[in-house]
């Protein structure tokens, strides 16, 4: 019985951690340099 309870608690804990990681997590690295420039003039010839 104790083993079953532990297994359930472990599964629930893993589920909560997985949910938090899925919804939060880390997405990536922002650009460290440069920026956006509108296409105009010579870009569109």
């Amino acid at each position: 019985m104790r083993a079953l309870r532990r297994a359930i608690v472990a599964l629930l804990t893993a589920g909560v951690i997985a949910g938090v990681l899925r919804l939060r997590g880390s997405g990536g690295v922002p650009p460290q340099g440069g920026g956006w420039r509108e296409l105009s003039g010579s870009d569109l010839r």
Binding site: P31, G34, G35, W36, S40
Partner: protein, 348 residues
């Protein structure tokens, strides 16, 4: 010239307005059709001649040069309307970004070619403007290895519903010479869009971009080449979107979304080196989609598309620069990321 716009919601009303500015009140005709009679009458009245409201029936396409399909996608509504338009000798421009619609419309390729007509599939913000940006970026490379599209934001209520449905569907990507289906909502990547949208988490979704881009790039590549190894599409989603994706929409969709963005990253070889080019655009998605659809309709009517048949804009527009210039004249401007693309871009 006679143009019929089906559906005058957020996108259709913008497309009609863009077309209205390019048509002659005396010699042209712009019929607007919608299931909501009041909205249809209001749009026609606000535009004035040559726009007028017209009841929906297949006969509405009689004598039309182009049918612009902007109605919400339910089942095969776009395909049915496109078939009716083709039978009556009209080119078709569809703004739908629903995977089923795009597959159905692409299946009309043989019929459209036989009739010498064009079916422009996915002529919106993404796909649409994204396809043009991909084609434009590809011209900078001697060979293209990867194309990655990301989009953020929604247009009107129909677009918001489609966004919700796409996150619960199945993504279709091109990878290593084969189509790969993956669960929508997976594959998070932080994508950096032009300011002020900035960085947003994007996920796989049931998006048709790869289906439209793959044939275009296969055509562009040299004989014997298989084309890009990877073509992917992702879209931004909030945490609430992802938690509630399997449920009905909890709130009624907004009348129109806020500013959105598209971002296209193309990787390939320039000379002896591998390089990447990132193009993007920001706008209200419905406004940009309306402009893209209107220009596509005018190009179809004037015979400026590359060939008859059903395909996306990357395939049907041989001169993306001219198309982008026309969009810029209408206020829809693209941007390029200048800096270190290896840092700016994600590893999609």
């Amino acid at each position: 010239m006679r143009i019929v716009v089906i559906g005058v919601g957020a996108v259709g009303s913008r497309a009609a307005r863009q077309l209205h500015g390019s048509l002659s009140p005396s010699s042209d005709d712009l019929a607007v059709v919608d299931v909501h009679g009041g909205r249809m009458e209001a749009v026609a009245a606000s535009l004035g001649p040559p726009a007028h409201a017209a009841p929906w029936s297949p006969a509405t396409f009689d004598g039309a040069d182009v049918a612009v399909l902007c109605h919400g996608s339910s089942g095969d509504a776009h395909r049915v309307a496109a078939e009716a338009a083709l039978e009556r000798g009209a080119h078709v421009v569809s703004t739908s970004d629903a995977l089923d619609d795009v597959v159905g419309l692409l299946a009309l390729d043989a019929e459209a070619r036989e009739r010498g007509l064009s079916v422009v599939v996915g002529a919106g913000f993404s796909p649409g403007l994204s396809c043009l940006l991909a084609r434009h970026a590809a011209a900078e490379f001697s060979s293209v290895a990867e194309v990655h599209v990301a989009k953020a934001g929604t247009g009107g209520p129909a677009c918001a519903r489609q966004h919700h449905a796409a996150l619960a569907g199945e993504a279709v990507d091109w990878r290593d010479g084969a189509w790969v289906r993956r669960r929508a909502g997976s594959g998070r990547e932080l994508c950096w869009f032009p300011d002020p949208v900035g960085g947003l988490d994007c996920y796989r979704a049931a998006l048709p971009d790869a289906l439209l881009l793959r044939p275009a790039f296969a055509e562009l590549c040299a004989a014997g080449s298989t084309g890009p190894d990877r073509i992917t599409a992702r879209m931004s989603a909030s945490r609430r979107d992802r938690v509630t994706v399997r449920l009905p929409m909890l709130r009624r969709p907004h009348a129109e979304g806020e500013i959105g963005a598209v971002r296209v990253e193309v990787r390939g070889r320039r000379g002896a080196a591998t390089d990447a080019l990132v193009l993007g655009a920001i706008d209200k998605p419905a406004v940009a989609a309306g402009a893209v659809a209107a220009v596509a309709a005018l190009w179809a009517a004037s015979g400026r598309l590359a060939r008859p048949g059903a395909a996306g804009l990357a395939e049907l527009v041989a001169e993306p620069v001219s198309f982008l210039r026309e969009l810029a004249d209408r206020g829809v401007r693209a941007a390029v990321f200048e800096g270190d693309p290896g840092v700016a871009s994600s590893s999609l």
